[in-house]
């Protein structure tokens, strides 16, 4: 049956996360952007909440309730608080979810218990490359077989790198296939360089240079089953789409509230159609984009190929998040341009969706 009501359990989770985002993320948004730091206490509290662990297998200490749809609902709420902090809070899933989905029994046993139990992030994922035409499906970073193991060469960027990262899942082209390799963060030939971007400044990001990085044969995610990881791209896009909807909603609500309070010519500017209609369009576009993200997530949960739906959702969100954030800056006028208010931060964050791939997963 075609329905649009989250389950009771999902509603409960959404309410909890919304409260968490309002009390823990939003108040830190400006300060952590300025200092370009994610407070470690925040990650500890997020870990207590079990946002990532909840979707990981029970046998390794997780909650066992995996759902891309629930993940999308959570992602939107967190990003409504703050995008950079949301990405940080969800970062443990970057390694944990692919291992849970594609890993061998040995890989799961070696990595999942720690990823689930340890509050400090112990894993990350590297997909995007520092090129104008970074291609999620066909990375230039290549993996070639060598003496029973693999050798990785290439470069990655936009890799979340929180304190305590021990392994990075490097996505590379192995022949025609998109393969993943679990690389220790201190591997020889791996060069880690901190980066800074226009937005998501609170999230520690690094560039990775891979110069003949050697890993053993069992470092390939899924081992001898050699799984193609293209499905991860869709999982990333759905998660990012949901985050983008959260950013847009944050911008919309700020603009709406400001427009009702800001007086011009003796009345709130929200009483002028030029402003009111802009806000109406924002609300419509946000809801439409959210439903596209939900549909793609729903398809993932059915175990179906969601390449198309995820592509449509992220396509829409890239436009909507940017337009809505830009609209919020415009509604705030000069105040939107100064760092005393959040719209300028949201605009910088929203632009990121144009190049983000697999910075989160559902």
């Amino acid at each position: 049956m075609i329905e649009f009501e989250p389950t009771e359990e999902q509603t409960l989770i959404v309410d909890t996360v919304r409260e968490f985002a309002a009390s823990e993320l939003r108040p830190l948004a400006r300060e952590s952007d300025e200092s370009a730091k994610t407070p470690s206490e925040l990650l500890a509290r997020a870990h207590e909440l079990g946002l990532v662990a909840n979707s990981l297998p029970e046998e390794f200490g997780g909650g066992g309730s995996r759902s891309a749809l629930t993940g999308a609902l959570v992602a939107e709420e967190l990003a409504f608080g703050d995008l950079a902090l949301a990405l940080a809070v969800l970062a443990p899933s970057l390694l944990a979810l692919p291992v849970a989905d594609f890993g061998t029994a040995a890989q799961k046993a070696a990595l999942l218990p720690e990823l689930i139990a340890n509050a400090s992030c112990a894993g990350t994922l590297a997909l995007v490359e520092p090129r104008f035409d970074s291609d999620a499906y066909r990375p230039r970073t290549r993996a070639r077989r060598d003496a029973g193991g693999w050798v990785l060469d290439g470069a990655k960027c936009l890799v979340p790198w929180l304190f305590g990262v021990r392994h990075v899942l490097v996505l590379a082209s192995a022949g025609e296939s998109l393969a993943g390799f679990i690389v220790p963060s201190d591997a020889a030939g791996l060069k880690v360089t901190p980066e800074a971007y226009m937005g998501v400044r609170a999230l520690p990001l690094v560039e990775l240079g891979l110069d003949g990085v050697r890993v053993p044969g069992d470092a390939r995610l899924g081992g001898e089953t050699s799984p193609d990881l293209r499905a991860l791209v869709a999982r990333g896009r759905v998660g990012l789409a949901a985050l983008g909807v959260g950013v847009a909603r944050a911008a919309f609500e700020l603009a709406r509230d400001y427009a009702k309070q800001r007086q011009a010519f003796g009345a709130p500017i929200a009483t002028k159609q030029a402003i009111a209609f802009k806000l109406a369009d924002m609300a419509i576009e946000i809801d439409g984009a959210r439903l596209l993200a939900w549909e793609a997530a729903w398809k993932l949960d059915r175990g179906e190929d969601a390449t198309r739906e995820a592509a449509l959702a992220i396509h829409q969100v890239r436009r909507v998040a940017l337009e809505v954030a830009d609209g919020a800056v415009q509604v705030f006028g000069g105040h939107g341009y100064v760092r005393e208010y959040l719209p300028e931060l949201l605009l910088r964050n929203a632009r990121g969706f144009a190049c983000f791939e697999a910075l989160t997963l559902v």
Binding site: M1, I2, T7, T271, A276, A283, I284, L291, Q316
Partner: protein
């Protein structure tokens, strides 16, 4: 739960109406676009005899409710939006009767649509030359004649969809909005059922339009047109002498303007679904034609290889699907009996504009093929535009959405 999985009934209905769209409607699409005011007899007869009872399905099985109605509307408008509007049904007039009529009125006015031996139509007449979106400004009057227990209607209505069929073919009816007291503003506006052929109701013209040409858009004149008091939709007004409290006399207004506006919450998702149907006709054809020309669309293309064409088509697909999902959400809320005024207007605003742009883009991308009358792509562009106008223009729906999200009354946000 959140689900995009249609019920078996919806799946069956979709297939059934799609076949009708392709086999019954498409072959005569061009013919009735060109013969603007001709009655599409083969379609009207087909619908009346074979499709009136609805799609086959299980009466007891799970239903998507109003979402299924949207799916039907989408499929039929995928066939031809103008022929859809010409279907012999109670249409918007029926929605008004169903939403605001008493049980007795529903039975009296809607039964003929089940039992008549010939095709009949229903219609709603709201718009006047100087009152479109501002429907509270309508000038058509209704005066009560106590001597005969009748209402006398006077005024001129324009842009009445299906107005020819509804006013001229015995058994049908036109729901007419009129004011019983101009000093009351919108509170004085009531709706009246005027049966076809009622003396005093005259069909004076049919519009020649950009698109949806097979749809009869009528101008109706009412001159001392008399209808029984029982044709005022909703609770009949009691004579003042019998009223027990002062407010009782105004109770006729309960379902007056507000009730009539509530019909829009039900009809806007359907109009949005109709828009999506036209948009899909255009987009599906575009993608098929590109396929025939060897252009495959990729959702995982390398960024430097993505063509402008692919990007446009992905955009059109995302826009169409966003419109469709907003429409289904509004319809789903209706099924659950939840207020959907905001969501209905969101769906209508999104679908009307998205489909206007999609169909225009399809003509552009197909070049001379799209512009040519050999195909229907140019017709779909002309047909699509009305969706951003009727049943509330883009702007009036933006206004409704804006008032809702800002929590402003109509006097706070004009």
């Amino acid at each position: 739960m959140i689900s995009f999985d249609p019920t078996d009934n919806s799946v069956q209905a979709r297939a059934w109406y799609r076949r009708m769209a392709l086999e019954q409607m498409r072959p005569i699409s061009r013919k009735y676009d060109e013969q603007e005011h001709a009655l599409p007899v083969e379609w009207v007869d087909y619908y009346w005899n074979h499709a009136r009872a609805g799609a086959p399905g299980s009466a007891t099985g799970p239903s998507d409710g109003f979402v299924q109605v949207c799916i039907q509307a989408e499929e039929l408008c995928f066939g031809d939006a103008a022929l859809y509007l010409r279907m012999p049904t109670a249409a918007l007039g029926g929605s008004a009767v169903a939403a605001t009529g008493t049980p007795e009125q529903r039975e009296r006015f809607l039964r003929p649509f089940r039992e008549s031996t010939h095709p009949i139509w229903g219609a709603m007449a709201i718009t006047e030359a100087n009152a479109g979106s501002d429907s509270a400004a309508i000038q058509t009057t209704a005066r009560f004649d106590a001597a005969t227990d009748e209402w006398l209607l006077n005024g001129t209505k324009i842009f009445c969809t299906a107005g020819e069929g509804a006013s001229q073919v015995e058994g049908g009816f036109v729901v007419v909005w009129a004011t019983i007291d101009k000093s009351l503003g919108r509170g004085g506006i009531k709706s009246f059922v005027v049966p076809a052929k009622t003396p005093g109701m005259r069909l004076v013209g049919l519009e020649k339009k950009l698109g949806i040409r097979a749809s009869d858009t009528a101008t109706l004149v009412f001159e001392d047109c008399r209808v029984p008091s029982g044709n005022l939709l909703g609770r009949p007004p009691k004579p003042k002498s019998e009223s027990e409290t002062p407010s009782e006399g105004t109770r006729a207004g309960d379902k007056g303007f507000k009730g009539a506006m509530a019909t829009f919450d039900a009809s806007r998702p359907i109009v949005a679904a109709m828009a999506v149907g036209v948009g899909r006709a255009s987009l599906d054809f575009l993608i098929e034609e590109l396929g025939r020309q060897g252009v495959a669309l990729r959702f995982d293309a390398p960024p430097r290889e993505v063509t402008a064409l692919e990007r446009d088509v992905i955009d059109m697909q995302a826009e169409l699907q966003a419109a469709r999902l907003l429409t289904w959400r509004a319809a789903s809320m209706m099924t659950r009996g939840k207020p959907n005024n905001l969501e209905a207007s969101m769906a209508k605003a999104k679908a009307g504009l998205a489909v206007t742009k999609i169909t225009q883009k399809a003509v552009e991308l197909l070049g001379p093929v799209g512009y040519s009358k050999k195909l229907l792509v140019e017709k779909w562009m002309r047909d699509a535009k009305i969706n951003d106008i009727y049943e509330g223009t883009q702007q009036i729906n933006q206004l409704i959405v804006a008032r809702r999200i800002l929590e402003y009354s109509s006097s706070q946000l004009r």
